[in-house]
Amino acid sequence: MKKRDPELLLFHAPLLRQGMTTPKAMRDVLVALAPATVASVWFFGLSAILVLGSCIGGAVAAEWLFADRKARGESLRDASGLLTGLLLGLTLPPGLPLWMAFLGGFIGIALGKVIWGGLGHNLFNPALLGRAFLLATFPIAMTTWVPTLADGGFLQIYPGNLALPFMQAQVDAMSAATPLGMLKFEQEVTPLAGLVFGNVSGSLGETSGLLLLLGGLYLWLRRDLDWRIPVSILLTVVLFSACLGFFDDARFPAPLFSVFSGGLLLGAIYMATDPVTSPVTPKGAWIFGIGTGVLVMLIRVFGGLPEGVMYAILLMNAATPLIDRYTQPRVFGRGDDPE
């Protein structure tokens, strides 16, 4: 009996792929953020879980609401919305009213992702867009910081969290200044150890520099991030601070302080590296990183706000199309001139 020929597909070469897929990359970032997330719960207790949950809830709600009915499951499955929510949550003050956190996640996805056409099409970092919106909308709540928990206070919730929707939080109940705020407005320097291990007040995810670096290392090993961006940001910041210190080391932040304070590590490792909103070209990545570093220091040292990582990244996001356009790689065999 003659065997029938198999039905052959005409699947075009290359047939082989490397193992990484986009959803896997997103999940890797979630994994890399796990230690910092756990640390945020350790330092801020139940509040951390509530705030992070609200952000993720807002992000996922927006993703679900605006997705095509058919594509609904799909757009949730690639975990990018979840990641946006988590990253946004990690940049928020622990005592933020939950309704604001939810709104931030929602706006971040709606304005930062959905209207651009979804994953991969947005030009601004959705998580940071959500945060920028919150900061401009609720500047007081967003700059009210709380101290880390005393021992064993896990079940305690910051009163600010529980404000009713559209209502103010009771402020002043318990407030603290961030290391950068203390430097900028009170000329007080926080010891480095606190910054490295995270027992300082600040956003949920920015407090422990060490764990953030650990996650970055993991991402680098998995080749999920373009190492040029964090390296160039951090180097620029260090050099910038060192130069300023050369002029007046009492007034300006020391290099290591600059690196470990505020959201710099979180931003440099997890947010500036958002592949979608950073340049694709290697040269572009350097420019992006250096630009971000310079803007961060400019805003921190000469600007009106104590922290500039978010704005620096958003501004460089805006410049990314231009950077990409003018840093096209030199084609093989075309000498040094790119045209």
């Binding site: 991969g120 080749r223 979608v276 990545a285 084609v331």
Partner: protein, 446 residues
Amino acid sequence: MKVLRRLRRSFEHGVHPSHHKEQTGNLPIQRVPFGKNYIMPLGQHIGVPARAVVTAGERVQRGQLIAEPGGFVSTGLHSPVTGTIREIGDFRGVDGRFAPAIAIEADAFATQQVDAGTRIDWQALSLEEFIEAVQMAGIVGMGGAAFPAHVKLSVPDGVTIKHLLINGAECEPYLTTDHRLMLERPEALLEGAEIMRQKLGAEETIIGIEANKPDAIEIVRKHIQPGDPVRVVPLKVKYPQGAEKMMIKTVFDVEVPAGQLPRDVGVNVNNVGTIVAVADYFLRGVPLIERVVTVAGPGVTYPANLIVPLGTPVRDVVKFCGGLKPGTREIIMGGPMMGRPIASLDVPILKGCSGVLVFTEEQTARRKEYPCISCGRCLEACPYFLNPSRLARLSKSRMFDEMKAYNVFDCVECGCCTFACPSNIPIVQLIRTAKDDLAHRKEPEA
């Protein structure tokens, strides 16, 4: 920097697919038994198709010329078997289109010996005669492109070839034909290389072999007589090390300018198989009538390295290897990175076909395509330093003209970008679409 790069002995970018060569790397080359039907397409090389010189019903000997070159960029064709010309007509080719070919029915009782069998005194031939001999022998590049070898030998005035570079990289996964040839016929390789080198007037022969074939490197080195101007260069294992411009970059640290050829930097590149074919013709009188083919892949029952007469239908080759496993979904002619999928088992083996790879559902399962996340992996993979993500994006928006500014025509379709893309975007295919569109658009306008 430069020193470092020389030490690393490689071009920049590229990818590292797992090479899957263990299936056939250790299997000696075997001959497939002769079958019944053979189909010799007249256009199985780049350039003008050959012109048939036989008619239906005529008897032909194995090795007999059955088609003569149709022009300068064209070669002769020889009957792979002793038998009868059944038909000269249109047959389905590798690309699925029908094209003129000569169908031959093998003589069931012939011995299938090659008549010629005489050594040619190549040293006595003038360069022109030598080139014509190569053309008549039907020798084309066996590295995949099937570019007529004699054209490469015809160096224009003012260009001198300093190096003959023999391409033994075989960087495509699964394929082991060049590897086995180097192991089993190192003398033929070196003899052929010497012929070519002398005729080209080159100073030195360099054989580039990827470092994952240490046995081949060793054997070839052992056969080099002291004092011979031949050198073996081990190469970093990386795809596409075998692409000629990449190999030249690796070996000489020179970039062949875009739009130019290796000869413009004084190098002539030939595949191992091509060199062996030259040796076979001039030293043993056998024109190009058969070639080594790797049959491998997860869908093959008994993978093998085979000597296959040209024109043998894939069906016969596969049958010899124990047939296809259930679940076979795709057969590729050539390597998995650049080869072409075929639609039918009746397609014949051609001069440029170094592998028949059979894949099953697992490799061909529809991969979900995600939007491009601009991760830049494709840029880091592209050995030609293009911006594949931008090219794909433009192609999707059908902005083909804009793609010219992004050097779409420098793309060699090596597939690195698609391999590297985590979003499973069929970048090469999108680029091909654009190239086709751009190339064909002129015609209706003109």
